[in-house]
Symmetry: C3
Amino acid sequence: MQTHFLDLNQLNDDEIMELIRLAIQYRDGKLVQLKRPVYFANMFYENSTRTHTSFEMAERKLGITPINIDPKNSSVQKGETLSDTVKTLQAIGTDGVVIRHKTTGWYEPLIDDERIHTSLVNAGDGSGQHPSQSLLDLLTIYDEFKKFKGLKIAIVGDLLHSRVARSNAEILKRLGAKLYFAGPDEWYPSDFDNFGEFTNIDTIVGKVDVMMMLRVQLERLNEDARESFTAVEYANIFGLTEERGSKMKKKAIIMHPAPVNRNIEIADSLVEAPQSRIFRQMQNGVFARMAILTSILKSKDLIAEDEYEDIN
Amino acid sequence: MQTHFLDLNQLNDDEIMELIRLAIQYRDGKLVQLKRPVYFANMFYENSTRTHTSFEMAERKLGITPINIDPKNSSVQKGETLSDTVKTLQAIGTDGVVIRHKTTGWYEPLIDDERIHTSLVNAGDGSGQHPSQSLLDLLTIYDEFKKFKGLKIAIVGDLLHSRVARSNAEILKRLGAKLYFAGPDEWYPSDFDNFGEFTNIDTIVGKVDVMMMLRVQLERLNEDARESFTAVEYANIFGLTEERGSKMKKKAIIMHPAPVNRNIEIADSLVEAPQSRIFRQMQNGVFARMAILTSILKSKDLIAEDEYEDIN
Amino acid sequence: MQTHFLDLNQLNDDEIMELIRLAIQYRDGKLVQLKRPVYFANMFYENSTRTHTSFEMAERKLGITPINIDPKNSSVQKGETLSDTVKTLQAIGTDGVVIRHKTTGWYEPLIDDERIHTSLVNAGDGSGQHPSQSLLDLLTIYDEFKKFKGLKIAIVGDLLHSRVARSNAEILKRLGAKLYFAGPDEWYPSDFDNFGEFTNIDTIVGKVDVMMMLRVQLERLNEDARESFTAVEYANIFGLTEERGSKMKKKAIIMHPAPVNRNIEIADSLVEAPQSRIFRQMQNGVFARMAILTSILKSKDLIAEDEYEDIN
């Protein structure tokens, strides 16, 4: 039971499996009752419709009242520290605060401050973690294979700048998957050798159970960027083209955190192909976040005992 | 029963009259119960407080939970297609999406995509339609005259750039009204000859039942615009001045989609004069939109059978 | 019973005390039932997360549905007057409108317009009033001393540009407090002589019951500003340093409207020191605003008779 939800690596295997099972229960129609009105603030200092809307939907489905705060209209502009902003939201009566912030580990100065008792939820921190995305990825893989141990999983693309690549690599290795990495050399962080094997997409595309493609930030492919390839070259050398897709194992799946740059990371025709779980990932995102928020609600004793099942 | 609501011209006369009657029932206090929680996203790619707030109020009055999404903070900025954005909102669990977009017919590529089953509501598309505005205009006229057949209606002003002028001209002609148009020659689309007669405001102001004035986009009257008249000249030649207002038939009404440029399209003193229905139009907007959303809810079987009347 | 809430000075002493008592009841768990769904629009033309979020929370705790409108996306950009915007929100069905606007007395042209019957709540007008902030300050002082008469209160800092300084000075003097002012000469409005004595912080810090520090707008301390002091000099000459804090009376309290510029107006270590009521003020803000909104709901007969107490 977590007061905060900041980094999936702080959970042990059982705790992660419990969240996955809880998410599946919510997807199957589980409902909960809150003991009193509960308020969560959502503050996204970096734009993210997808994650923001997914958290808001998860909150609403649990009966939590979301308070959306646009940091562009906020006191942050007046030089207030994140700590003071969080304490303000706490004073106003929020039970939790979902934050995405460009500072890696934005939450670290806050969790040691005993005056903060509102719950902190990390919706992405700088080049750090994106734990709710990791959990929905795990849920999507588990849906398919009912296990992690022994699965062969490729993570392909911009490993260096991707929050979710690092989270997923650490967790999946811990859970027993065998990992392969591919993508441009200049985007490979050498410490990923601890989690798996750096190879190339053509070597592994026919062998793995999961092709987890990462988003390319297009501005990195501009002419004035320092990269040694264009968007077309990226697609040809590192992307999941139709031809490569045709070499995948029959039961292998395609994943991507979205939004997809169609025909760059993945061929347009593969995005919604039968092997693709990309929109399934988004759907799972709401249920994964419901499980995360539930662990916080439980830690605060805010869920009524007599839970009941949905009739829908 | 409509899964989408995109263009009023796709409805037959009976369907339009049913929406008008339903809107009147809501205004009289009708309430409905939803079978389960229903979520609609509101995405306005072009600013429109009035339409956005009106849709949000209609949703809330029906018990629908609105999810407001500001496209300026969205993945659209990351190059995502509208189709992928809509599919994302669908995956996250929205039952419908209300969209205003600068692209005429933004919905056309989407309605043929069988993977999209979330309902699409057109809140204004480029130089195309503004069907919810048309419906509220029809409701406001019907309130007054209990019929359309034989009514004489003038539509005056910037016919070329007005979404609602075209929607209304097509529908009102079909419903049996006799239409007159006035305004600058350069803002008269010649195909409007199919719907009515192009004349000048002084010829018709004393004859018609409805003076429907259109909004002028002020930037078109700037010095560096190519128009041949200034704001003051526009008011004198094409506007509903006090003097012209005094020549209106006793039971004739003034309409305008708002926001009004007071003393340009309409004399300040006429905006809230007894003949004006401008704020009545805004009030009707909420009920017209409740009727529109109800047609979608019905098509998805989301309304409980035992509807009951409001006691207020 | 107020239809609008615009300026605390329009209330008599009994009415103010009734609001304070009502706020305390809400803090103690009082709940109310509304007779029908009630909608309030929140329009903040100037950024203010704190006040906006506090009003939204107050609305939600009372069961009012907030409709948040971002004026940056609004028809205001199309040149609509504030009066027409308010009448639009009224037509759409809002029972009240909470507005912050840069125009001092923005509400004056509206309250004489008999067509406006939606309730207006002033969340800060130009260099005018900030009555909900004043009320929460009064509540915070009353919590501590159970009276105003005879209290010695210092208001220190930028008296010239602070909305709340003027509101508080007028009200606190009327309620019987003895006021002292300190801060830069150039920021002292000479008519404050009517409310209390202009002196310096070192003379009064050991004598008063309340040190009410005002926010400095940092841009006034820029090199190109005309002020005769830097941020560091401001802290040394006018700020509540640790040394000055140590001279305060044992039961005296520190207040600040927040956000605080730590180490400018107040030493970092004092912001959350035992004497500080700064976060308590924010907490009280929600309950003070609940009391304000309740006075409006009562004036419109929107509260059900059989109120009941919270069991939490």
